[in-house]
Amino acid sequence: MTSAPGKYSFYVEKDAYEVTDRPRKLLEAFAAVLEHSSYGLALDVFARVTAKCSRCAASCQLYEATGAARDIPCNRSELLLKVYRRYFTQAGVFKARLLGGGFTLTEEYIDRMGENFYRCTACRRCKLTCPMGIDHGLITHLARWLLAEVKLIPKALVVSVREQLQGVGNTSAIPPAALIDTCEFLEEEFRDNYNADVKFPIDKEGAEHVFFPAVSDYLLEPDTLMGNAAVMAVSGGSWTIGTKNYDGINYGLFYSDRMMERIVKNEVAEVRRLKGKKILIGECGHATRSAWFGRTFCGPDAPEVVHCLQYAHRQLKQGKIPLKDEKIEERVTYHDPCNIARTGKITEEPREILKTICRDFVEMHPNRTENYCCGGGGGTVSIDEIREFRTKDMGRRKAEQIRATGAKYLVAPCANCKKQLKEVCEDHGLKEVTVIGLHDLLLKVIDFDAYRRQNQNEAGPVAATTQAAKAEEE
């Protein structure tokens, strides 16, 4: 049972309203976090140097849309820095003792924090424009964790994490039997529609890559998954899907390092169980970014993380993906998911692939590290009750960008971005635009005839031999 939005613009669980003495509890959590985690230095320095120059305002798509004071990144961050200054710096404590009065953390203040820190997608675009290097995304990340310790969390996020950690084991509550069914069904599709023998290897020990897509892809994005499987098959890649854990989604990233840690550790445990080497992430931005925290949570020998775009790009460059002569004719544009693009980690691979397989690829502006968030980042996309906020306020800028490209296909290699962008297009009347995964397009242009011929010529399990050759290479 939930209470209707009213107190907050998102649903929270009932027990969120039953927590008493929240200021004390939040400060206790804050103290524990400062002691055991790494936020202290950043907060200390940020609290000192923040210059209120307002450059961040112009870089935030939300402020651009609403023009409201509370939506200026620096203003929002100040909500937390103020608490830090007052309770965790010598000067603040001293001033409060000496002068009395001044700022105190109250129940109302906590409500205000709850509301405002979920008006930020933690896309970190504003970090690029702050002369003081203040990472408002980091502050949003931390503030949400502290709020979570007094149970102020959007219901949609807790429910997903609960399902993943205490329920069936994944955010979409897909039981293993249903997963296997789905995979078999997709294999059939390959046979019927492409006359190709493409497998979804389940629980194969010793595979190089263990695959973690956003689990929702199994329900919503079969073409993306088929694209993934096709790339693995034609390139002779060694991969598997583990039945103990097949979900890359990690909503812990959006509200609690405690949850995030558990989810990442589970992922790593599955790779170890299957004696795999690498984590292969499907088309999902935040799943990738959370997996990149593997070393943070599991130490230096956590498995390497490979994003499916990096994998596909490498195979394409090495000529291991046979392509048809026809290209995608319609105009295509690319949306950079913040979680893989903001720091410049994955920006060129998708473009090179798209330029190879599409005849008319156009950029959105700005792009790459300076892209605008889809508007549903930071987990907000799963909060259905704030759709209007997401698409109208957060997503306005994105809608303008998309419209300006005149593209038919909007490629977004991220489950969350896809859902959000579909809604943005709907709510902004962009009817002609199809939001699609990059692997969906790859699937259209892979030459399965060549793959089949190659398989027959080599008369044997081609995958196995290429795999062995690859293992040697490495």
Partner: protein
Amino acid sequence: MDAMLEWARGPVFVFSLTFMLLGLLRHVLVTFYEMRRTLGRAGDKVLPYRQILKATAQWLFPAGKIRHEPLFSVTSMIFHVALLVVPLFLGGHILLWQRGLGISWPAIPNALADVLTVVAVVAAVALVVQRAAARASRDLSRASDYLMPLIVALPFATGFLAMHPALNPFPHQAMLFLHVMSGNLVLVLLPITRLSHAVLLPSLQLVAELGWRWPLDAGSKVEKALGKQGEPI
């Protein structure tokens, strides 16, 4: 007046300078120590150094960042250049150092110093006006944000008047006193206000990155500290 001027130039200046140096040194040491500690216990110690260096350099020499907010950026940059150059390279100041400690270095021509001084004052006022004029910065600003540029410009304005008796309607000695005292004030404020970015700036990009470098098991340790182990989600 002479005695007061001597006092301002003597003990008060020595105090302010020492306070500033020690204060800033403390920032540097504490930050450095904390950076090492944070990295030392981080689960993931592999940092994108090139990217961090690049961002740091971009903000130390922010010419490339002008396009975002041209007017404000240019004003701010000019302001900073004047702030750094004039106090350190003014002939008159160097002479004092030479007299006091016997050290000296090349000075900028007085005419240039004059121009830069006026620029500093004008830029400070312009910054305040721009702050008040734009909606976003107005919504953000605390009183001290308006005051700070003016306080910093004070030694420049008074210094200029002291150097140009013809333009100065006030007694020369009094002006000089104000100049020295406002300079002292800025020195004292340096380590204890946001002016400390003067020494912290080169560390900021790295500091921000380190905020994400959590120790192994940070989450479970917090969980334990809060007595929340085994608590259902």
